[in-house]
């Protein structure tokens, strides 16, 4: 498969994403500068973590206006699969490709640690390869990861089975103590209604090699690859 990993000024998990897609999973992945207008011939788009534009205004608020985001919008509208990780999730929310917003952590502190994630649904192209009831261990690293949305949006997310991951205890319970940032419904990741665009705060690319303390993150990339196999390429722009 061919992946484009977007590179905004101060994206800083861009190389990590390329490393995992290319060197760990053996697919083709290249960095795509945010000033480009076209995605070229790609099967999937990954928006990596980082601090696009320093996140001084509001996370993702400026990045959404980068030229490349128009192409991403079109790609997504045509059914192309897009995954936003951390800052990528924030950008997708700002761009309106995903509902809700990510606000300052409840603790007001940046938080970097490995967390437990309950997989709320395996009925998505980003979770389909995850064994039922498997609890994932994946690191988070963010200051603005508190998922927020109004009640009707939350209701929609639940009704449409759009919640992908939720912060959980080691036993899989969705408690307040397990919630590292105050996200509503312990939400760590969601997808859109069409299930082709997803965002998550945890970093699966940091949990894809055993030496770095776990490989649960690979299941997410493997789901994506499974979904893309046997799919028609969306019309690229």
């Amino acid at each position: 498969m061919n992946f484009a990993v977007l590179q905004f000024p101060a994206s800083n998990c861009d190389q990590d994403a390329v490393h995992v897609l290319k060197n760990v999973l053996g697919h083709s992945a290249r960095l795509l500068w945010h000033k480009e207008n076209s995605l070229g011939d790609v099967d999937g788009v990954l928006i990596p973590g980082g601090f696009s534009y320093g996140d001084y205004l509001r996370t993702g608020a400026i990045a959404r206006f980068s030229p490349i985001m128009k192409a991403v919008q079109l790609f997504a509208e045509n059914g192309g699969m897009v995954l936003g990780i951390c800052n990528g999730f924030q950008i997708l929310c700002e761009a309106g490709l995903l509902p809700g917003a990510l606000v300052r952590n409840r603790s007001l502190q940046f938080c970097c640690e490995r967390v437990h994630l309950k997989v709320a649904t395996t009925r998505s192209g980003f979770t389909r390869a995850i064994p039922e009831n498997k609890l994932l261990q994946i690191p988070i690293a963010h200051g603005d990861g508190c998922y927020f949305a109004d009640e009707s949006t939350l209701g929609e997310l639940q009704k449409n089975d759009q919640i992908l991951f939720q912060y959980a205890t080691p036993q899989g319970m969705l408690t307040d103590a397990a919630n590292p940032n105050g996200s509503l419904l312990n939400i760590a990741g969601i997808c859109n209604k069409n299930r082709n665009v997803a965002g998550m705060m945890p970093h699966p690319e940091r949990a894809s090699e055993g030496w770095l303390g776990g490989t649960d993150g690979r299941l997410i990339f493997e789901s994506w690859l499974q979904e893309l196999t046997g799919r028609n390429k969306p019309s690229a722009t």
Partner: protein, 770 residues
Amino acid sequence: MRIDPAITPELVQKHGLTPDEFERIKAILGRSPNYTELGIFSVMWSEHCSYKNTRPLLKGFPTTSDKILVGAGEENAGIIDIGDGLAIAFKIESHNHPSAVEPFQGAATGVGGIIRDIFTMGARPICALNSLRFGELSSPEVRRLFSGVVSGIAHYGNCFGIPTLAGEVYFDKSYEGNPLVNVFCLGVLRHEQIARGAAKGVGNPVFYVGPATGRDGLAGAAFASQDLTEESAEQQRGAVQVGDPFMEKLVMEACLELLATGCVAGIQDMGAAGLTCSTCETAARAGTGIEIDLSKVPQRAPNMTPYEIMLSESQERMLIIVKKGREKEVQTIFDKWDLPWAEVGFVTDTGQMVVKNHGELIVNIPASKLADEAPIYHRTSREPAYLENVRRFTLEKISDTVTPEADLKALLAWHSIASKNWVYRQYDHMVRNGSVVCPGSDSAVVRIKEDSLPLLPDGTFGPRFTEKLIALAVDCNATYVYLDPYEGAKIAVAECARNLACSGAIPLGTTDNLNFGNPHNPEIFYQLKKSVEGLAEGCRAFNAPVTGGNVSLYNQNPNGPIDPTPTVAMVGLIEKWEYVTTQWFKNEGDVIVLLGEVIDSSDPLLGMGGSAYLQRIHGLKTGTPPRLNLDKEKQLHDGLRALIYAGLVMSAHDCSDGGLGVTLAECCISQQIARDTPRLIGATIDLRNSPATRLDALLFGESQSRVVISVNPNKLADAKSEASQRGISFNEIGTVGGDLLTIQSSHRTVTTKLADLHDPWWNAIGRAMN
């Protein structure tokens, strides 16, 4: 119209220059300096830039090895060969004074400064460490400083995208009002990518890149070389710079991209003393001259004077000397990254640093005399009076413990020993996908993979290589140094090297940060001198030469000086993935072995002098610290590595603060799998055959040269024979397993539930801060 103040003795003094120094300046210039020139001399001849009080001492450091590619003092950071054509650049630097005045920005810009020192060498920064000291957390002001510093480091490093991978934090009254913030950065490059900070090639254009110059950070280097006073906070706030990690990330990417084109003749960051230091140092290194016109320098504030522009320490700026005819490449790359750039001057053959403003001559100073000929002072030293009292202390003055369980818990909750998760959770310690061992073990371990390197001119990372593993540790028990500067400094080096050995690494080199009080005080200078001797001897013993570092003097507040704190950061290489070793026990049934002696009976204080136990339990900061024999210590490290290489070691943890009791507890409780998921694993220890006369010394004495390892029982015989061949003492002291830590001794049996040890250790700092 600009009117400079007249040069009066008061003005000279205000600039921190002595009358003798002023005479020297006049002799160099053959005339009296003007206001701007005076400012330039004052920052370049500050301790921070010139090492005028310490240079003779620093000559004692070992600085060579066959692996050193760029040595101490040559450039912005030292560089060491790690094989396969790869190299690492690393250095530690302080930002103590700015952090005392404005903790968040002070610490943030410290991180920014050290990162720039690394990519200036052409290396891609891949990880950061820090060493912090504060007063006690019971003080609200200390909590403000602590939380400000930690969030400042987090802010800068996280946004920049560098993992902050290890560090240390100590709390002691002597640092109240004068915290220490030492920050370290390591970068990676290929040998052929080494860049130099030299203004080479007469006629080559000089470029300024990065954000515009403002009035922030005016004369920060000079400020860093003064005592802190009550008024410092208000008066000096303008000397603290404001950091922009986003900008730095862009500047770094653009600089690395530019370096790959081969159009750069020389490059230097504008750190301390900003434009002044970068222009005169690059000219001095190349033996050339340099001429710039300030009207071309991008300026953030209106009507800035030449004095202000030359002394500003606005952050994230670089000076780049470009090969003539290739100016367009700078423009293309910096435009791509939307970064300001300006051609501000050119390299000359006059040897002079010439600064003009709209063509008017403002500054004309011989560059090499300014950069390299600062006065050198051989200060007098006198043994501090307090040491006599320290040496008089004997154990008869305190009674043995009858509450060892409570003592153990109290020590684990003591903020200097307690888990620093409240700190490192705020740092992104995993970005760049290389963090093999995260904060919480003896050493951090980072892997070097292809994308750790800067790109080559062809846009690739170059030939493939086997991933490499670098171990890093930073240490200094300043209480020991206070109680015995020479021995304490030696121990700081030994502990650092021991931490590396515990992770399976062999040391490559050292960078040190000398944090001391006012050197004009002979007692302080004694601490400095003896510490440097101890460091030098330690570094020689472990074949870990000093590749650079930083000196921060005048660390004192109205209550007195800080404890002498020669922070040591050491970097080592782990040759194979299988050698990576962590400190926590792994499997039930493994045999626990103490490498080294249970107690050093030759020490009249049985390892209790300066111990955490005396400080925490008895409120005493006294006693001659434990002795350290470097030969024995080196033998221990070599033996430990041999055991690790032979696949015989399941875990290895260095025995330091809090002695054997705390070390064993940490082996049982320090593995953190995920949020709220520690892995607790118990141990039963039998010390009934040990010669201890006192239980407190047995449990909490800090005799040196000791490591606790665990060994698979099937491999015990092999381990034993390997250790005996290596001449290291091998004491089987117990077994891993259960949910208790039980220590049997001839006095009594000490038993605690692991959960009761974990909770105070893990949560102490968080609780103090909430």
